[in-house]
């Protein structure tokens, strides 16, 4: 073998190793933050008591471990995975690194759906209607954005459309809450709009986890089609990819995952923007290689963020969505500046 072949092979091996090490690190961080999240909380229970309460015990430790701490830690993981994978898939579909459930308004319309279900008695009629309405809301905005992108809307046009959709959804959410005649309407609104994992229950997890899993499975089934879309729609079609089906799977998969996550925790923004972008350094640009790692990375990020906010503000004044937005919004701004410079 000559030198260039050897170099090419070692370049490829190095990039494969980089991806493997990153996966390993993410897999190691996830249980670490998960356990920390489980152990953190306002009641001063020892780790031993909490772990004991998880498996036995009907006392305070059992109730706290099983019905407060475990759902919260697990929901952080599920929501992070949903948002990370959704961001990676949306970016692949729109071929646009700015696409993300929050920026595109998908979480806002999901939140609107959830608020409508919650404050107008639907959620009381059947607990399934809460995530169902959130998913319907997510489907609406993802579908609108998709139609816009088909008409040739560029990266910035999609972002602006997302801003418009998000503003409208936020206004309608506020309107719905003021008609709901709920004395806590304003504080509840903040919870829906900024997202929080405070006071979540096992039933939130029971709906969010399988719906998110189904959504991510749909996204994975579309991943090779997303790779082919790197070449444009005609070329992808000529390679045997049913582009219409790829689109439908991504839009529905994102709606399922993001809708379920938003129904459980409100709108958590920017996770789907930051995670795939950071992971591209380690996994490369092929959309198919980014979906599962972004789910993993999103789970790590949200779980870690939820630990950090409880360390900073143990009384729970700090909302998860506030932290992700404070990290994500400057990043988003930087990304826009960089894209402008590149184009």
């Amino acid at each position: 073998m000559d030198g260039t072949v050897l170099t090419a092979m070692s370049v490829r091996r190095a990039s494969r190793d980089r991806a493997r090490v990153t996966t390993f690190v993410l897999c190691a961080l996830l249980p670490l933050f998960f356990v920390l999240s489980f152990l953190l909380g306002p009641s001063n229970l020892s780790p031993g008591a909490l772990l004991g309460g998880l498996f036995s015990g009907d006392g305070a430790a059992g109730v706290i471990a099983r019905e407060i701490r475990l759902p919260r830690a697990a929901l952080a993981l599920v929501i992070g995975a949903a948002l990370g994978a959704s961001g990676a898939a949306l970016q692949g579909l729109f071929r646009n690194p700015l696409a993300e459930p929050g920026v595109t308004g998908v979480t806002s319309t999901a939140g609107l759906g959830a608020v409508l279900a919650f404050y107008f008695g639907l959620a009381a009629a059947s607990p399934l209607l809460l995530p169902a309405m959130a998913i319907a809301g997510a489907l609406l905005s993802a579908g609108i954005l998709y139609l816009l992108s088909r008409r040739g809307a560029g990266a910035m046009a999609l972002v602006l459309a997302g801003v418009a959709i998000a503003s409208l959804a936020t206004a309608l959410t506020a309107l719905a809450l003021s008609f709901a005649q709920n004395p806590y309407a304003m504080s509840e609104m903040v919870l829906w709009m900024m997202g929080s994992l405070k006071d979540r229950t096992l039933s939130d997890l029971v709906f969010a986890a399988p719906l998110t899993a189904a959504g991510i499975a749909l996204l994975l089934s579309a991943s090779r089609g997303l790779d082919a879309l790197t070449l444009g729609e005609d070329a992808a079609e000529s390679l045997g990819v049913a582009v219409a089906s790829v689109r439908a799977r991504v839009v529905i998969g994102v709606a399922l995952a993001t809708g379920a996550a938003t129904a459980a925790a409100g709108a958590v923004s920017f996770v789907g923007l930051v995670v795939p972008h950071v992971l591209r350094r380690f996994y490369g640009y092929e959309p198919s290689r980014l979906i599962l790692p972004s789910a993993l990375g999103g789970a790590v990020l949200v779980t870690a963020a939820d630990v950090v906010i409880r360390l900073i503000a143990p009384d729970g004044q700090l909302l998860l969505g506030v932290v992700t937005a404070m990290l994500g919004a400057p990043f988003f701004f930087w990304l826009i500046l960089r894209l402008r410079r590149d184009s």
Binding site: T4, A8, V11, R12, S15, R95, R224, D227, A228, L229, T230, L231, G232, D234, A235, E237, S238, L239, G240, V241, A242, G284, Y285, E286, P287
Partner: protein
């Protein structure tokens, strides 16, 4: 010999606007067929109809003697390789990752790139003179280098038919000639090559056959010297041309 692709009285329309009407033409294995015509003559549409990307509104398209409608999506993808006009990569994947997309029609749903796939990709990059930057990212390459990688992607499929839409556009003269050589090499391996071209010199010099389209109709076809006769050039393009000793047509003035 039967045609790799045969159009029999094919029509096509965007909404109410007819783009092709009554086109009969064929692309033969082992030959380079050039498709020429003014802007909007229906060159791209002809290729898209053959690929099943657009439905014919009339007539019949046969691929290797079988009606297009009888082909499965997968079999068609392995038989027809397509290089769209102005092709570029939407993500800065590496050149090799991009070329490997050409193997998608050969891969099962979740199967990774096989050894055979890898060899096909490397061979395609080699033939396009792109192996030396196989592991560089697309955004680090020049326009000419990217065009070679995209062409390698089409070759990597190993399809018996290659349809290329304006592959010479945006290439400098040296790269244009290199591209035409590659198309000729591909035809020499038995592939049916069809290529839309704006440059009449390239069409007359490098194609075995030329199909001339005008407002959706095939007005002339055959060997370049017949299909690009003076009357056709005057009629279709409104130009007069000079001819070099080897028959190369050089557009010289507007009529």
């Amino acid at each position: 010999m039967s045609a790799a692709i045969a159009f029999e009285g094919v029509g096509a329309a965007y909404g109410a606007r007819a783009v092709l009407s009554g086109v009969s033409a064929s692309f033969e294995a082992g030959a380079v067929t050039g498709i020429v015509g003014p802007n909007g003559a229906g060159k791209t549409t002809l290729l898209r109809v053959a690929l099943g990307l657009m439905k014919a509104s009339g007539g019949a398209v046969r691929i290797q003697d079988r009606p297009l409608a009888q082909w499965s999506r997968e079999a068609l993808a392995r038989t027809l390789a397509y290089l769209p006009q102005g092709a570029d990569a939407h993500w800065p994947v590496t050149a090799r990752q991009l070329a490997a997309l050409g193997r998608l029609p050969h891969r099962a749903a979740l199967a990774p790139l096989s050894a055979v796939d890898g060899l096909a990709v490397d061979a395609a990059l080699e033939r396009c003179d792109a192996a030396q930057f196989a592991d560089r990212r697309m955004d680090e390459l020049s326009a000419g280098e990217r065009a070679r990688v995209l062409f390698a992607r089409a070759l990597a499929t190993g399809a018996p038919v290659l349809l290329a839409d304006e592959p010479a556009a945006y290439l400098d003269p040296a790269h244009q000639l290199r591209l035409m050589d590659l198309l000729r090499e591909e035809a020499a391996r038995g592939t049916a090559v069809a290529v839309t071209l704006h440059d009449l010199a390239l069409a007359s010099r490098h194609c075995d056959r030329v199909v001339v389209l005008r407002r959706g109709r095939a007005v002339a076809q055959g060997a370049p010297s017949e299909a690009l006769a003076d009357t056709v050039l005057a009629d279709v393009f409104g130009i007069a041309a000079q001819r070099l000793a080897d028959g190369t047509v050089v557009a010289s003035r507007r009529l």
